[in-house]
């Protein structure tokens, strides 16, 4: 419902679904950059408080003439991930605010920027809160995420440590019982070191979101966001196109069974 951000809803106990998720990244400094990640996910809600997802990832790169990145046109299996969510507060008669914490460990064998072979281990820890501003109509969400990771290219001798911090907020308005539109703002910071040792750059993204329930069991969610402000350390030019892409897109198609 909130695009790149999470709501607090983890689903109902007994729910199981298969989700196809496509995430696009477009544009770094100069040249042509497109990276498309395709995930296939199995999602399950075994209790009223806990949900998990297991995902396999594939990656397609089309990179040419980008500053600091070698040309690359490739497609390959890129890794595996899981997501484990725990509902602390359920939105509804019990509480006006929903609150969920999640951990999303990921192993990647392909670098998401240059498309080369790597060994990358990261985990995103996220807190998502949401509320209904107008009953059954207008929803708002806030997210905070911290993502430490270690990575080593196949020809590298040492592991690189990094971390990211994300703050985001979104609004979603249900215009019909099956269609919800909205917008989200996300602020990202990139660091060297697992715990924010050296600041590398930051970026602000803004964009629209859309969700359509085709049937009670088939759902489509889409989001697009553009970097509207940012700065990379050591680069006087506008925007941070070293650590972050210019545009992002996300498309989810979920089949519940």
């Amino acid at each position: 419902m909130f695009g790149f951000l999470d709501g607090s809803d983890i689903g109902a106990q007994g729910e199981q679904s298969i989700e196809l998720e496509t995430t696009g990244s477009y544009g770094h400094r100069r040249g042509h950059f497109t990276a498309i990640e395709q995930e296939i996910e199995y999602e399950s809600v075994p209790t009223q408080f806990f949900a998990y997802e297991l995902s396999a990832h594939g990656m397609l790169h089309s990179v040419s003439g980008v500053e600091g990145v070698a040309n690359n046109h490739s497609a390959s299996f890129s890794g595996l991930s899981g997501k484990f969510s725990y509902l602390i507060l359920g939105r509804g008669p019990e509480s006006p605010i929903g609150l969920t914490v999640s951990a999303e460990p990921e192993w990647a064998r392909i670098d998401d920027v240059d498309g080369t072979r790597t060994a990358d281990f990261s985990t995103e820890f996220r807190i998502a809160a949401d509320t209904e501003l107008i009953a059954n109509r207008l929803y708002a969400a806030v997210n905070i995420a911290y993502e430490p990771g270690v990575a080593k290219g196949v020809h590298d001798a040492t592991w690189e440590h990094s971390s990211g911090l994300t703050l985001g907020t979104g609004l979603a308005y249900r215009i019909t019982p099956t269609v919800t539109v909205g917008g989200a703002v996300e602020y990202d910071r990139a660091y060297d070191g697992l715990t924010f040792q050296t600041f590398d750059g930051h970026a602000l993204y803004v964009g629209p979101t859309l969700m359509i329930n085709f049937t009670p069991k088939i759902l489509l969610a889409a989001a697009f966001s553009a970097q509207v402000w940012g700065h990379a350390v050591g680069d006087s030019r506008a925007l941070d196109l070293t650590n972050f892409e210019r545009y992002r897109s996300n498309l989810k198609l979920e089949f519940e069974f």
Partner: protein
């Protein structure tokens, strides 16, 4: 063994005992069982009542021949009931309020659990 370590072990074992005791108390708390039937695409009764802060069991019988799916976003449960079948759902202790449930295969077929 140092006094600090002894104290640490005492604190840990007390905490484990407290957790086990509270789990045993919770499981010993008797649950209230509620019965509801789906017949002619309607829940009968369409409104259930239950006490607050006590675990609940909802037994759903499908009196129709077509399968149904008992679902509630606020109760956070979802389960298919075959035609003529019966299911049982365990619900956590709830705060007072009105909790909507519905048949996910015919979402206009709904009812409420009123917790007081």
């Amino acid at each position: 063994m140092t006094p600090v370590r002894k104290n640490y072990e005492r604190v840990v074992s007390s905490a484990v005992f407290a957790i086990l005791l509270s789990a045993a108390t919770a499981s010993a708390q008797e649950s209230t069982t509620l019965h509801i039937t789906l017949k002619g695409n309607r829940f009968q009764p369409s409104e259930l009542s239950a006490p607050a802060n006590k675990p609940l069991t909802i037994v759903v019988t499908n009196g129709d021949s077509a399968p149904a799916e008992f679902e509630s976003t606020t109760l956070r449960v979802e389960k298919v009931v075959t035609g003529g079948g019966t299911i049982s759902l365990n619900i956590r202790p709830l705060a007072p309020g009105r909790y909507r449930f519905f048949n996910d295969f015919h979402q206009e077929t709904d009812g409420y659990l009123v917790v007081k």
